[in-house]
Amino acid sequence: MTVVVDFTPVRGLVGGLLIGSGAVVWWLAAGRIAGISGLLGQMVEARGRGGFARWCFLAGLVMGAAGWVGMQGISWSIHFPVPWPLVALSGILVGVGTEMASGCTSGHGVCGLARGSRRSVVAVVVFLSVGMLTVWMVRHGS
C-alpha cells in the first residue's frame, strides 16, 4: 500500500520556481540550456573556452544550497540509504549514463521538457522508470 510521507508541495513548487528562474536567467544571458551534467562533462573534458563561467555557476550552486541550509540553522549531513561501495557504483552509473544520454534531470528534465525536445521526453520517461524500478528492487525486491 502506498503511504504518503513528508509531502511538502509548497516548498516543492517554490523550489521548482527558483530552479526554473535559474534556467531562464541562463537562457537570457548565454542563450543556452542549463544542463549540469553537460557542464561537468565539459569540465572533465577540459575542452573549449569559457571555463570561468562554469566555475561561477558551480560556485553559485554550492553557495545557494549552503546559504539556505545555513539560514535554517540546522546541521547539514547527508545520509545515504546504501553502503559506500554502492555509493561509488551509483556515482559511476550516473556519470556514464548522463554522458551517454547527454543530459540529466536538469538538462533533459527541466530544460529539455520545457522546450519540447523529443529526446528529453524519452530520456525522462526512461530514467524515471528505471529509477523507480531500482528503488523497488533494492527496497522491496528481496
Binding site: 503511504v3 549552503a66 554502492l86 556515482g91 550516473v94 529539455g112
Partner: protein, 159 residues
C-alpha cells in the same frame, strides 16, 4: 560552436553565478538535496513522497514560459555571441541506454548531478566519493565514446 565573445567574460560569469545560486537555493529549499527525499519519490509502492513532481512541474512551467516569452532576441543573448541549442534529434540506443544507466544510479543513491554538487558543501565523505565516481564515469564514457560515435551536443552546458 560559436566563438565566445571575448569582451564580457565577467558579465557572463556573474550571470552564471546568479543562475547557479537560483538552482542551488531551489534544490535546497525543495529538499531535493536530500537523497532520502528523492528515494521516497521513486519509492512509488512504499513510502511515496510526491514532492519531486511538484519541483519538476514548477521548474518546467517557469522555464517553458521563460523560453517562450524571451524567445530569441535579434541582438542575441545578453553576454554571449549567439544562441546555441542542442542539435541532436536522434532518439537512439545511446540515449535510451544512457538514461537507463543514469536512472539506475539515481535510484541507488538518490543523487543526480546538480544536488550532488550542491551537497559537496556539507563536507560529507560519501558525497565526495559520489562526485569523484561520477566524474570518473563521465571521463571514462568520453574516452570510449570518442572512439565510437561522434559526440552529440544535447544538454551541453554553455560557456
Amino acid at each position: 560552436m560559436v566563438a565566445e565573445r571575448q569582451n564580457s567574460p565577467g558579465r557572463l560569469g556573474a550571470a552564471a553565478w546568479v543562475s547557479g545560486l537560483l538552482f542551488g537555493w531551489g534544490l535546497a529549499l525543495s529538499g531535493m538535496i536530500e537523497p532520502g527525499k528523492v528515494i521516497h519519490f521513486l519509492d512509488v509502492t512504499g513510502r511515496f513522497d510526491p514532492t519531486l513532481a511538484c519541483v519538476l512541474l514548477a521548474a518546467v512551467t517557469v522555464t517553458a514560459l521563460g523560453y517562450r516569452l524571451a524567445g530569441r532576441q535579434p541582438s542575441g543573448p545578453w553576454f554571449a555571441p549567439d544562441y546555441d541549442l542542442p542539435r541532436n534529434r536522434a532518439v537512439d540506443l545511446r540515449l535510451v541506454a544512457g538514461a537507463a544507466l543514469f536512472g539506475a544510479g539515481w535510484g541507488l543513491a538518490g543523487l543526480c548531478p546538480a544536488p550532488a554538487l550542491a551537497d559537496l558543501a556539507s563536507g560529507s565523505y560519501p558525497v565526495i566519493l559520489f562526485v569523484a565516481s561520477m566524474l570518473a564515469g563521465m571521463k571514462g564514457a568520453q574516452l570510449i565514446g570518442r572512439r565510437r560515435v561522434a559526440r552529440d551536443s544535447e544538454c551541453r552546458f554553455p560557456a
